[in-house]
Symmetry: C2
Subunit: 233 residues, 2 copies
C-alpha cells in the first residue's frame, strides 16, 4: 500500500481484554500513538480497567460499540486471548472493522483471535513461537518471520516483536521517515544482553522447559481452532 | 553483585507519575513482573490513574507511603519527569528507598530524577540521548552506552533501552538463566526495520529536527539541574 496523504486523519484502534499480555499492546502503543495526524482508540466491551496477565491495569477509553471505523485495527494477544476465540461479539467487531480497515495488525497470539474470526484463511502470518502450530488449524499459512505482511494483514511474532511490527505499520501509513522519527525518539537500537529470544537461539533446556510449560494452553488453542474450523466448514 | 538466594522473596517497586512515557515503565514491567519469587509494586502519591504523555492511563497499585522496603527501585522518565526534579516528597522517597535497595534502576530521563535526588554524584550513568548533556550538571559521569551499571545504579538510555536494562537487572537478581527464560517468553530477538535508533545512526535531518523539537525541554532540564546543584553546594 501507499502511505496515506498527510492531511488524512487516521483512526487506529486497539482491543484490550482481561489477561492480555500488556506488552503486546504497550509496545505498539508507543509507536502508533506517535503517528502524525492520527487518533489511537483503546476499546473493550466496557470501560472498566482490565488486568493484564501479570496484574497491570489497563483502562479502555471507550467500548467496542463506540469505536469509529478504523484505518488500522490492532489485535494483541496473551493468555486471555483464548477466551476471545469463540466470543461472537468480539469476532463480529473484528470482522466488521477488518472489512474496511487498511491494515489489520495482530501481535503475538492476537493472530489466533483474527484467525478465529475467519480472516486468515490462505493468509501468510505468524504468532508467538509457542503457538505457531495453531495457525494451520485456522487455515492460515504459518510463516516463520518476525513480522509478516500479506495484503492488509500485518502479523508480528511473540510479544516484543510488536515493536518491529508497529514500526512497519507506521511506515506503511505515513512513510519511512515518519517511522524513523519515532524510532529515534524511542531510542530503539536494541542490544539484547543474551541470545535467548527465539527457540532457535535460546539454550535447549530453557526451550524444552518453556514448551512444557505452554503445553496445556497450546493444546487448548489447537482444540479451539479445530472446533472453529469444523463449525465453519 | 551475586544473585539472591532463590527462596528470598524480592520486592521490586516502580514509580509512575503524570506524563510519564509509558514505555519507560511497561517495557521493564514485562521483564521484572516475571522474576521468580518476587512482587512488583507500582506506586504514586495517590492511587488515581495517571495519564502517560500520549494518553495511556496507568493505575498505581498503592501510594509511595505504603511501599515496602524495596530490593529494586525502578524510576522511569518521560516529559512529566521535569515536575519531579524539585518535588521533595518524591525525592525523599527515592533517597530513602535507595539507601537500602540492592539496585536503583533508572530508565530514560528517570536518571535525571535520581540525579535530582542527589544520588548520582560521581556515578557513571546514561539517559535519553536528547538529555545526555543534563547529566553532568547533576554531578554524574555521562556514559554513552545503552545500559550502564555502576555499583547499585543501573541506568538505561532512552525509552526502549529499558527492556535491555531490565534483562540485565533480572540477571543480577536471579542469574542469567532466569533472564534468558523471560527473554524467550518475550521473543525478544529484535529486528528494527530501520537504522534510526540513535543520533549516530539516524538520518542527519531527522536528528536535527528532533534536537530542535527537544530544545525547550532540554533547556528546562539543564536549568533545573543547575539550580539543584547550586542549592546543594
Amino acid at each position: 500500500m501507499m502511505p496515506f496523504p498527510a492531511d488524512r486523519h487516521l483512526h487506529i484502534g486497539a482491543i484490550i481484554f482481561p489477561r492480555i499480555d500488556q506488552f503486546d499492546f504497550t509496545g505498539p502503543f508507543e509507536v502508533l500513538s506517535r503517528i502524525p495526524n492520527s487518533t489511537l482508540h483503546i476499546g473493550w466491551k466496557d470501560t472498566s480497567p482490565v488486568r493484564d496477565v501479570k496484574g497491570l491495569l489497563l483502562t479502555p477509553g471507550q467500548t467496542l460499540a463506540t469505536m469509529p471505523p478504523l484505518d488500522v485495527l490492532v489485535v494483541p494477544g496473551g493468555a486471555g486471548q483464548v477466551d476471545l476465540m469463540e466470543d461472537e461479539p468480539v469476532l463480529s467487531f473484528i470482522r466488521e472493522q477488518a472489512s474496511h480497515a487498511a491494515i489489520v495488525f495482530s501481535v503475538c497470539t492476537g493472530a489466533l483471535t483474527v484467525g478465529a474470526a475467519g480472516l486468515l484463511k490462505g493468509v501468510k502470518c505468524t504468532t508467538h513461537w509457542a503457538s505457531f502450530d495453531v495457525l494451520e488449524h485456522l487455515g492460515a499459512i504459518p510463516t516463520n518471520q518476525r513480522v509478516v505482511i500479506d495484503g492488509k494483514f500485518v502479523s508480528a511474532a511473540g510479544v516484543s516483536s510488536g515493536i518491529d511490527g508497529a514500526l512497519r505499520v507506521a511506515a506503511l501509513l505515513r512513510g519511512e521517515r515518519a517511522a524513523q522519527e519515532i524510532q529515534l525518539y524511542m531510542e530503539y537500537a536494541p542490544e539484547p544482553p543474551f541470545q535467548s529470544g527465539t527457540p532457535e537461539t535460546a539454550p535447549a533446556e530453557i526451550v524444552a522447559a518453556a514448551r512444557a510449560g505452554y503445553r496445556e494452553i497450546t493444546e487448548t488453542r489447537i482444540a479451539l481452532a479445530r472446533r472453529i474450523a469444523s463449525n465453519s466448514a
